[in-house]
Structure formats: C-alpha cells, structure tokens
C-alpha cells in the first residue's frame, strides 16, 4: 500500500455497490496464478518468469524517465531496475491470494513494478536537490499572474487571496511544494517522514478549502 493509514486517505466516494464477486480468470491469468501457487520448489520456474517480466516492466518505467535520470550511470539504472523487480516480486507473491481476476494478471503484477521503479526514480532524481518548504512561497504567483490572460490572472489573484486567508501554514507548504514547485509527492513524504496518502490528504483538504472559499466569494 502507498499509505500506512487507510483511514487517512481522501476517498470520498460511496463504496461498493457494484458486484464484488471475483471475476473468472482468463486462461493466461489462470496459468500464472496456478504456477505461482504451487509449493515452494515446484514454482521456481514460474517465479523466475515473473521476475523477468517485472524486470522488463521496471526497465520500461525507468526508460520513460530517462530525461530526469540522464546523470545516472547506466549500471546504476540497471541496478535500480533489478531492485524494483525484486521488491515488486515480493509484493506480488505476498498479495497473490488477493488477486481476484478483476484485470489481467500481467496488468495487475506490472503495477507493482511500475510503482517500485517510479518511486525509486523520483527519489534518485531528487536525491541531491533541496526540498525547501516555504509556506509563503505562494506569493511567487505574481509572475504567473503577469503572464496569464485577463480571466486567468483574475482567477489566480483570487486563489492567492484564498491561500492567504484560509490555508494553514502546513497546507500552504504542501500545496506550494507539489502544485507550484513540482516536488514529487513521495519525495515530499520521505522528507516529512510521512506517507504519500497523508500528503495527498493534506493537498486534497487544502484544495477543497480553496474551492469552497472561492465559491463563497462569488455567491451573491
């Protein structure tokens, strides 16, 4: 899971009214699950095949991020891919009993490799970059206001006023870091020693407060 505290997420939709019955597995997914569910010793070839698949997925993900990782030596990149595949393999094997066939097995398994590789890539790209948390940095919206067309400039001025009036310093820090300074959410979570889910909850609450304030402002 991305967050250690499921209650701390921003989920605000009604849960499960749709069917929760497990879908029948497609033949390829059934073969994967059957092979990986064999006792240890009998499943080694399937586990090796899964690891190879996850490694390709991790390399694919790192390849998509080549621009952000251009200073990282090739050997280190490959090591990152192997680590991501190793971590994804552990996650897939741990979660295998929960796979219900709601997607193809390969899509389900690949998401673990994508997550592991993307988190490692973002952390590596920001390894030597300082994350400065500046609750007052929202005042730097001025250049964006100046560059915007009149309607957008008016909107940005209203948002800046709302940021000043309704957000806490912590909410301003998170909003500025993610929405203005493009700090990756998991890098920010690391630096603040919290979870991605908790950071997103703060961001979500800040945005909700801003929107509610702006809506009140335009009410007659």
């Amino acid at each position: 899971m991305l967050s250690g505290d499921a209650a701390d997420t921003v989920r605000s939709v009604e849960p499960a009214r749709a069917t929760t019955a497990a879908a029948p597995l497609d033949p390829d997914s059934r073969a994967w699950v059957r092979g990986l569910s064999l006792p240890s010793g009998q499943r080694d070839m399937d586990v090796a095949r899964l690891h190879a698949f996850l490694l390709r997925a991790a390399r694919f993900e790192l390849g998509r991020r080549r621009a952000a990782l251009r200073d990282v030596p090739a050997a280190e990149l490959d090591d990152m891919a192997v680590q991501a595949a190793d971590d994804a393999l552990l996650a897939v094997m741990r979660k295998l009993p929960t796979f219900r066939g709601d997607s193809r097995f390969t899509t389900w398994a690949a998401k673990f490799a994508i997550l592991e590789a993307s988190v490692k890539a973002r952390r590596r790209a920001w390894q030597h970059r300082e994350v400065t948390l500046e609750p007052e940095a929202w005042t730097r919206l001025a250049p964006a206001v100046a560059a915007a067309d009149p309607d957008e400039a008016e909107r940005l001025r209203a948002i800046a006023a709302a940021i000043r009036e309704v957000l806490s310093p912590h909410q301003r820090e998170i909003l500025v870091a993610i929405a203005l300074n493009d700090v990756p959410i998991d890098v920010l979570a690391d630096r603040l020693q919290t979870t991605r889910g908790a950071i997103y909850k703060t961001l979500h609450d800040a945005r909700r407060n801003l929107r509610a304030h702006l809506a009140r402002e335009v009410e007659p």
Binding site: L2, V10, S12, E14, R17, R104, K111, L115
Partner: protein, 86 residues
C-alpha cells in the same frame, strides 16, 4: 504530458476522488477497462452505470487529474499494457 494551468494545479479536481491507496488498488482494473477488456465493475465507482458507459471510474479519473505521481504511474501502466509486454 501537458501540464495543466497553474490555477488548475492549485485547485485540483472538483469531483469526489479516490486517495492514492485506492487509486493503486484499482489501477490495473481501470487500465484494462480503458483498453477495452471486460472485467468486473470497480467497486469504488461513484456511478457504476456511468462507469460502464464511459469506461472510466469517476473517482479514479478525478484523482488522476489531481495527483501527478499517480497520473505518471497510470500513463506508464497503460502504455505497458497496451504494448502487451509479457
């Protein structure tokens, strides 16, 4: 990926949205549904009827608009699944 305007990045999505944990939980199902594979409806859909019609989970779509990291991972998984790697 085109970056949304500054105001949109600050205000985020309006509809009810999932959190990062739920997004990850349903990401594979969402991607396969986008690619036209028939699987069970997402139990976290705001509107199962709307989801079936649009092949989108509304809460997922809102979250992917609001969370850059999850949006990146969605784009990667979709590209990977589309290429039928494996």
């Amino acid at each position: 990926m085109n970056e949304p305007p500054t105001a949109d990045r600050l205000l985020g999505p309006e509809p009810p949205e999932l959190g990062c944990d739920e997004c990850f939980e349903f990401l594979d199902r969402y991607v396969d549904a986008e690619l036209g594979h028939e699987f069970a409806l997402c139990p976290a859909c705001v509107s199962p009827a709307g989801c079936a019609r649009e092949r989108h989970c509304l809460g997922m779509r809102a979250h992917l608009h609001g969370c850059p990291a999850c949006a990146e991972e969605h784009a990667s998984l979709r590209a990977l699944a589309q290429g039928r790697l494996g």
